[in-house]
Amino acid sequence: MLIKANNISVVRGNKKVLENINLAIDSKDFITILGPNGAGKSMLLKCLLGFFKPDKGEIIKSDNLKISYSPQDFIIDKSIPITALDFIMLNKKIKRDAIINLSKDFFIEDLLKKQLSYLSGGELQKVLITRSLVDNPDLLILDEPTQNLDVSGQLNFYKFLNKIYEERDISILMVSHDLHMVISTTKKVICLSNHICCSGEPSKITQDPEFITLFGHDFANMMSLYKHDFNHTHHTHKGDKNA
């Protein structure tokens, strides 16, 4: 176990943003959180990252857990002159050569000398992830990484992420709306709507009544189309109902 949310709740005003959330991330996990706007996805990440203390419950981390975080809506202001390499090195005690080597693994060495403000959305995401990986974290937390990307950009990015997941000893927790893109990689999907509606393997989750209620039949049908691609082993599907 790397990190665990133990029955956490967050109340803002009189709205329950998060309600009795239980979540455990193990090593080599790949979990995708799915949910409508205002479902508390970003709040859950904030609690796990320790930016925010839940009103109830606790976050338990394993010793020396290294978490890296890549935020939602990363926009670099044009008034800041900084190259991708300088940005990756910022506040990290890592040698330039190590970063150049790492960037070769990800085929982004051509981007290093470019100004951050001149990179495309997809290039920027790759630089962000590279920065997250330079000090070998145990867990990578991504908040809607493909929000500003077009479809081919999304495909490209998920291929990139897949490569990282396969080649490294790392767990990934991601908030994403593109389940159809990650379905072949992600091991577990959690549907959040202030509470955990359902969770389980992506191919199974789309048949869960709670999932259908949350996203509608069309979306669920569209998702289930992708299950053929998924070469999965069979577990019993956990239909957590914590509400």
Binding site: D77, S79, I80, P81, I82, T83, N91
Partner: protein
Amino acid sequence: MLDGFIVNALIAGICVSIIAGGLGCFVVWKKMAYFGDSLSHSSLLGIAIGISLGLNFTIGTFITCIIFASLLTYLQNKNILSNDTLLGILAHAALSIGIIAISISNQYVNLDAYLFGDILTVTESETYWFISAAVLVFIILYIIWEKLVLMTIDENIAKSEGINTSLVHSIFLILLVIFVATCVKVVGILLITSMLIIPAAASRQITSSPTKMAFGSGLIAIASVFIGIFSSIIFDIPTGPSIIAILTIIFILTLPLKRNS
């Protein structure tokens, strides 16, 4: 041989330029121009209090600006009104109360000197204040530099890497207050923000990294102070506005040099 008053003015100008170079970049990056302006407006209240109580006006300014910045941060966190509106209210309230306070203090005050600066009257003992302020700000800024740059780019990434962002931000605000308190004498309350913004904006056109932009900005400010002081003596024109006019000319000259890579 230069006259003593010119040497003192140059020392004060160089010190202020060094501080402005580093801090100004963050004011530009964080879009805090209006904040800087409001802070300097509030310093007039500090000057009034300092004069009334017979204190050094720099100390009065420092204390008032710290209170102003804390009050503002408190109100911002309350999320009642937009930042812009809050700044507009507080800045002009402080300016008005300051002018009223000066008028009822029954002491002769040369308001022009505070509004537009009076660098040629800097005394030798005051230069030590300037030097200490410059050294202090330079060292602190050097220590928090990488953290502050990362936070400016993305606060959440900084937080996730264990940076205490509210502490670093508070330190930055205190440095800004030190700058305002020292810069009043150089260019005056009304022109302080331009001393922060214009060198940084000009330097942005010709540099490719945060550190280079800060040093470039400092050098541009120093050059403007030199040219500004001498041209004000030669042509007998006000010094503070001359410095800002030179800065503006340098900024215009850098415009065609915009780097594209």
